[in-house]
């Protein structure tokens, strides 16, 4: 079994989930509470990865951000290399590709918060920032946790983009989904079988634990 690939996938998924929590919160907040009349355009952009095949994103990263294009050359001059074949490249691709899986649950959580509590907090003199962290976020924690779990899970399960722009470098871009694919191609079914089973059990365990504790946390919250 390829523990290196499993570790790499975990690393990538944790990083993506972390980044998306930080990036997703303000976007979700804005999407939920903004009254701008063109807001739906932003919502549509955020939801794009739900519709687009991973090959579209892969193509843009390879061609648009490759060294032959303007944007790619700017990227290269800033970071010293282009995106494909690097862990950073997978990170950028995964964050973009999992964005709706973070923003939409967080936004749904924010929407469920009683407006009167928010307004009460404001009238009691709390700044919007304080209100967000002490009133809105605790009341919508379930949405944030769901967003975190979904973006983690979605990144573990990512395949198409990685196949297109990863270059299959052991320890850098050979994620566990790619490793299983390679083993199947090479007809190493027993290796593929073991890795697939580990991944299956692990994913189930993570989701079960998080959904289980999430519910208990909610139940606890209601008791107080």
């Amino acid at each position: 079994m390829n523990w290196e690939a499993i570790a790499l996938s975990l690393e990538l998924a944790v990083a993506v989930a972390g980044i998306l929590l930080v990036v997703g919160l303000p976007i979700a907040y804005w999407v939920t509470f903004s009254h701008w009349r063109w807001k739906f355009l932003v919502e549509a952009v955020v939801a794009l990865p739900l519709v687009l095949p991973p090959t579209v994103l892969g193509y843009y990263i390879l061609a648009g951000l490759g060294p032959r294009h303007f944007a790619g050359r700017i990227w290269q001059s800033w970071f010293g290399h282009t995106l494909p074949f690097t862990f950073g490249g997978l990170l950028v691709a995964s964050v973009l590709y999992s964005l709706p899986f973070a923003v939409q649950p967080i936004s749904a959580g924010l929407e469920s918060v009683d407006r009167r509590l928010i307004e009460a907090s404001w009238t009691l003199g709390a700044s919007p920032l304080v209100t967000f962290f002490r009133v809105i976020l605790p009341l919508s924690a379930a949405g944030a946790v769901t967003g975190l779990v979904l973006s983690f899970a979605h990144t573990i399960g990512e395949f198409g983009v990685v196949l297109m722009v990863g270059g299959n470098i052991p320890g850098v871009t050979r994620t566990v989904s790619i490793d299983i694919y390679d083993q199947v191609q090479a007809a190493n079914y027993d290796v593929a079988n073991r890795t697939a089973l580990v991944l299956l059990l692990f994913s189930f365990l993570v989701l079960a634990v998080i959904y289980g504790t999430n519910r208990r946390a909610l139940a606890l919250w209601r008791r107080f």
Partner: protein, 276 residues
Amino acid sequence: MKPIRIVFFAALAGFLLPAALPLTRVANGGPLPQDAAKPCGTITVAAASDLTYAMNDVVANFEKATGCMVRVSLGSSGNFLTQIENGAPFDVFFSADIEYPKKLETDGLAAPGSTYFYAVGKIVLWTRKDSGVALGKGLDALRDPSVKKIAIANPQHAPYGRAAEEALRRSGVYEAVKDRLVLGENISQAAQFVESGNADVGIVALSLVVSPKMKEEGRAQAIPENLYTPMQQGAVVIRASANSQAARQFLDYVKMPATAAVLERYGFVLPGKGKP
């Protein structure tokens, strides 16, 4: 959401298709009637991706000559071997490694005795015209630290990847360059990594870079043939083919001198014609 939906439709298709097929056959009353009207029909060919461009020409000629229809699937030979072993509905398989068709024959999955050695494939160093890689130095050019990424096909399941790795090892540069290798899923993707400029140089199939499209984009340098095991390419008719008559017809067409000439034009060495 999406994976669930995919699983749902796959399961649905899995249940409905086998159930629906016998029904249509009964409704038509025995053998499919269009077979009588059109003696040829459609075949699906699984072709190693070193044939990406050459196969277009071969298929166009074949379709014009016979009125048959050919659908071409391109990918790595190892990928197709796995798929055919698991019942993929291909009629003919063109492999970059003749061992795969032979294995299918041994396993009873290909028509007995149908394996045909159609050509020998070659690998070359290839880079974009605007790159500064000193190809003249051969594989030693890869040692240059300005060469950041070197694309090859995945040696685990792509014959061209195996040949590339072998050449790197035999020339003694493998250890120096192994951390800069990026692996394409098949030889076509490896070439595309170079063509798009994301990899500085690649070890790819000659048959890809002599195509009119790629010829304009880059320059190639031959890799000495003593550095890798000759890549014998083999084609075979799949035993489970639903249209084995047309499948055999296609393979016979590939054996004709006119088709051999097309393959030769794409840089393949014909059996018996290469230097020993």
